[in-house]
């Protein structure tokens, strides 16, 4: 899956959780949760949605690799290779 496709999916799912924000304006290394003001409950919902939509298994110890756009995209790319 291309980087663009992954990003598009991420933005869609973030938009669903935080509809008043503009996820596509996230900086690559910005902390997603802080930038979009997402609490722990919604953060878990986001991870669940990502894993279901892109069919990737995300164990809890990898949550740290999903905090910003850059690391999340490369994490998913590695997982879907």
């Amino acid at each position: 899956m291309s980087e663009e496709e992954i990003k598009k999916t991420i933005f869609q799912l973030l938009k669903r959780i935080a509809p008043e924000t503009e996820p596509s304006e996230l900086m690559p290394e910005e902390n997603i949760r802080e930038a979009l003001n997402i609490d722990s409950f919604d953060a878990l919902q986001f991870i669940v949605a990502i894993s279901e939509k892109l069919k990737v298994e995300i164990p809890e110890e990898d949550y740290g690799k999903t905090t910003n756009l850059k690391s999340l995209v490369s994490y998913i790319q590695n997982k879907t290779k």
Partner: protein, 413 residues
Amino acid sequence: MIEFQMPSLGADMEDGTLVEWRKKPGDIIRRGDIIADVDTQKGLIEIEVFDEGILEKHLVMEGQKVPVGTVLALIKPLKEAKNVEVEKTEGEVPEKREELEIPHPIIEKKPMISREIEEKTEMPRIKISPLAKRIAEENKIDYSKIKGTGPEGSIVKGDIEKLMISMPQEAEVTEPEVAEPEVAEPEVKPQAPAWDALRMAIASSMSKSNKEIPHYYLEKRMNMSKAMDWLKERNRERPIQKRLLPVAILIKAVAKALDEVPDLNAVWEGSLQRKNEINIGFVVSLRSGGIVLPAILNADTKPVDEIMEILNDLIPRARAFKLRSSELGQSTFTITSIGEGGADKIFGLIYPPQVGIVGFGEISEQPVAEGGMLGIKPVIDVTLAADHRATDGLVGSRFLAALNKYLQNPDNL
């Protein structure tokens, strides 16, 4: 005959507006069915009924605002109703007959879905339920182009909500900027009245709290290493959908601690009155402002897994204003949690007539001295605000000690 009354959904609720009847005379009522939608300061609430029988008569019409305790409808109990047959003809009071076979109302329980199935015909004129129309108007939603899923293609609440979700920006964000639309309404409010009402409800109960309750505050830092390890171990074996969040463990630990210090699981109504059930009210923040306080009933008896499942169900519904009457107004103690990325500590205001509120800050790694050694551990700063009319500091202190004990021994939860 059972009198079905306007329920109280919290100490601050004085009245409610019956917006839509979901059951009509002659309908079979089962425990847990939603009988009506009621508009309160906390938004539209689905009102459940806890009796069984046949709806005999509506005593309050749609659109009427009545005080808490007003009889809204009469329900004929099942025993009496046994000899009555249910006629499905609209608005007709059932006639006497020999036996009553109660069909399992699977469809009845989900009226929105059943209406979707029934929907076949298209109407040339816009048919819209009063409730849907009101929501649409309050949120300035143009419903002229949508297709209803209600009876005979009429537009129902769900359709408008679907539309609002699909265009949240139009509905919420850009609204204040909308210069006078075609409708020449002089007072264009920046937000839907429901939000104003929610703000007013919070304002009134928190003012009451601050004015009447002499709060005392205690604070304790708790080591979360064991609780986090416990969670990690469980989450490792689980699919992502079943994973637990720290808050589930915190809720359970609070409930168990309240079981040991029952004076805090109480209300103050001229004197301290302990409550038998431990129902934990959990503050859910709304992204657009405001808070909602759904309750986790009998949290002390529920496993952590079940509490997490309840949260998974409750939080999204609380945010969408889709709570049921049984989930509001029954809490006996409150938890407020700022969660990650937020404040280190939170000092709460008690929700009257309760006598205590626990505030959880962020779980963060901090230097902790233990057995003469310094280590880095995950810790959480826990505060308790309690009503000094009802209890003294010693009780509060015991509670925090009990809470800490459970967090250090998560296997006992």
